[in-house]
């Protein structure tokens, strides 16, 4: 079963990556040509366009991921520290936790369409956000023509990116916060006690105890979030005005792959490129995954294994002293 549904598609992706792009030569093996087109695109004009598109999608993915990860981790870390601080007495902690996790379970597709409505930018009928801003006085309103000078939250390059970053942060900070909280609660409470007896203030506790002991979990969060960021699809794909085309400012790698094999998503079917891009994405994920494993591996177990090896070596040495005879 695992082979059929998980491993075979993966292998098939590799196979597809080495095949031709047009329907006619789908069975033609073209070797590394697809990769060459994606990474360098120096064959002809068509491939250069694909290459540019691919590089752009990578750049966008990176920008969107950075822009959502930094505020997200800052927010979640500070909240997690405050929530687990036993000295502070804040009523309704459970309620806050529940509310902050809420955005994460809502369908991403619905969230994208909802924000598209809220951030509408039409001059005569703007979305809620532009209207609120005009009430505060940021967005000018001309009563004579009944038109707003709206901020281009959908078609503007940085505006749309910021909205997508905000949605991602909004959706994921609760999840990260709860993960970090369980990490903090896993720290031995006697350490905090000792620190408070020694008269450490909360800043010192955070710098000297919480942060170093939380670092592995933070790194794990970083890597999983990076893998998640590489898969970002629903929101960038649906946050657009023009139904057939994703704006170039939001095109992520996942959208690129999807567009290359899905006939209705604009552009022709090009399984080869989609496969090649997937393979590249796979290797990036693999490297990131290995890093995550390396960070979260059981250090005690490794130390024990090392000890066993050392003992074995010593035993071997001892054997040698007896003339190489194994006793």
């Amino acid at each position: 079963m695992y082979f059929f549904f998980q491993l075979y598609p993966l292998i098939n992706t590799f196979i597809v990556a080495f095949h031709g792009n047009k329907e006619a030569d789908e069975h033609l093996v073209v070797g590394l040509q697809n990769f060459q087109d994606l990474l360098f695109g120096d064959r002809n004009r068509a491939t250069r366009k694909i290459h540019e598109n691919f590089v752009l999608s990578f750049k966008n993915t990176f920008i969107l991921w950075i822009g959502n990860f930094i505020p997200q981790i800052a927010l979640s870390l500070s909240l997690a520290v405050w929530f687990t601080d036993s000295k502070l007495k804040i009523p309704g902690k459970g309620f806050f936790k529940v509310v902050m996790y809420l955005p994460n379970i809502i369908t991403a597709a619905s969230v994208a369409v909802l924000f598209l409505q809220l951030c509408g930018e039409a001059e005569s009928i703007p979305g809620t956000l532009n209207m609120l801003l005009s009430k505060v006085g940021i967005v000018p309103y001309d009563p004579a023509s009944r038109k707003y000078e709206t901020i281009q939250f959908v078609s503007g390059m940085w505006e749309s990116r910021i909205v997508v970053m905000f949605i991602q942060t909004w959706m994921w900070f609760g999840n990260t916060m709860i993960m970090l909280m369980s990490g903090i609660m896993g720290i031995n409470p006697s350490l905090f006690e000792a620190a408070s007896i020694d008269g450490a203030n909360s800043g010192q506790v955070f710098r000297k105890i919480t942060f170093p002991l939380l670092a592995p979990i933070m790194a794990y969060t970083l890597v999983t979030s990076m893998i998640g960021g590489l898969q970002m699809f629903d929101i960038p794909y649906l946050y657009k005005r023009d139904v057939s085309n994703v704006s170039d400012n939001l095109k992520t790698v996942a959208v690129f792959i999807y567009e290359k094999f899905h006939p209705s998503a604009g552009g022709q079917k090009q399984f080869g490129y989609s496969g090649a891009a997937s393979v590249l994405l796979f290797f990036i994920t693999l490297v990131l995954g290995c890093i995550a494993f390396y960070i979260t591996r059981d250090k005690d177990e490794i130390a024990r294994k090392k000890q066993i090896k050392k003992n074995a070596k010593q035993a071997q040495l001892a054997n040698k002293q007896f003339g190489g005879l194994s006793l």
Binding site: M1, Y2, F4, F5, Q6, P9, L10, N12, T13, A17, W82, L88, K89, I90, P91, F96, V98, V99, M100, Y101, L102, P103, I105, I106, T107, A109, S110, V113, L114, L118, T128, M131, L132, K135, W170, G174, N175, I178, M179, M181, S182, I227, G228, L230, F233, D234, L238, A254, I257, Y258, F261, H262, P263, F271, G275, S278, V279, L281, T285, L286
Partner: protein, 299 residues
């Protein structure tokens, strides 16, 4: 003595507790603001679902109005909308796919984890490593190969590729196995064997009841993930027949804002899509938060 007093005196202590109180107060305020931000978009959505289209276009209000029934009517009866967004078909399709795939995910993952935990066979470690490796691979990577494969099998435009792959859910297996390691002693299996229970019966009558907490958490997450999934259905249902569309696909259909002028109806559609899952979440929030804390979710 006087020196001691100045360090441990009452005035210092009061100052300390005042500081804690101040900090708690400020943080409480900050949490309230964050809660506000979390809920505001959803609140506006619900309010706008009860308001008239022109009112939404001309002003923003935080007070619900009384056009709820009318918006619902437009959405369900007006052909422009009902040809793109039919909430009943959407619910039905989503429910079929989600229901079956949740059951499959939980049952077969429990079975796999049980097998990995209880039996000692040659390729056990290798199998487990492969499962972990596959867990790391995002859907998007395998999607091109998957669609190509399904095209060859002529299974696109059917629910089979959406339901059956859920049998193989590596992340769930990983979670269940670590749960079993901590709370499922092998002695029980031995005892059952001595009492003459068959292997499968042992699994059904002993292992599953013992793993109920893990199964419940994973079932909730499998349900949410499958209900919210937009990527896989839209890539498998290539011809996108209306009768087959899932709820997220219908939502993506009404996003073409040029065709649809009635904002009340659009917000109504979104509310119908979002509100059920919010209600489910509120009812189950205790389990969900606990599950996230266990590190059981990975998306």
């Amino acid at each position: 003595m006087s020196n001691m007093r100045s360090v441990y005196g009452t005035s210092k202590k009061d100052n300390y507790s005042l500081k804690i109180k101040m900090k708690s107060g400020i943080l409480f305020l900050w949490f309230v603001i964050l809660t506000f931000i979390c809920l505001l978009p959803i609140y506006i959505l619900v309010v706008n679902a009860t308001r008239e289209s022109t009112a939404i276009a001309n002003s923003t209000s935080f007070i619900p109005s009384h056009y709820f029934g009318q918006n619902l009517n437009t959405l369900l009866k007006n052909v422009t909308y009902s040809s793109v967004f039919n909430v009943w078909i959407g619910y039905r399709n989503s429910a079929i796919i989600t229901g079956f795939s949740t059951i499959f995910t939980v049952f077969f993952s429990a079975l796999t984890a049980y097998g990995l935990h209880v039996y000692d066979f040659k390729i056990k470690e290798a199998a487990y490593t492969i499962i972990l490796l596959v867990m790391m691979v995002p859907v998007q990577v395998t999607s091109a190969g998957f669609v190509d494969f399904m095209l060859k099998l002529k299974l696109t435009d059917s629910y089979i590729p959406l339901i059956f792959p859920s049998i193989a859910a590596p992340a769930v297996v990983y979670f269940m196995r670590s749960y079993m390691k901590s709370s499922f002693p092998l002695d029980i299996v031995e005892a059952a064997r001595i009492d003459g229970s068959g292997e499968f019966r042992t699994f059904l009558t002993i292992a599953i009841p013992m793993m109920k907490p893990a199964i419940a958490v994973q079932a909730i997450f499998a349900f949410i993930a499958s209900w919210n999934n937009y990527y896989t259905p839209s890539m498998i249902l290539l011809s996108s027949k209306f009768k087959q569309k899932t709820l997220p696909m219908m939502i993506s259909g009404i996003q073409a804002s040029d065709k649809f002028k009635d904002y009340g109806a659009i917000y109504m559609a979104l509310a119908l899509a979002i509100v059920p899952i919010v209600i489910v979440y509120i009812l189950l929030s205790k389990f969900i938060i606990a599950g996230v804390a266990l590190g059981g979710v990975k998306e």
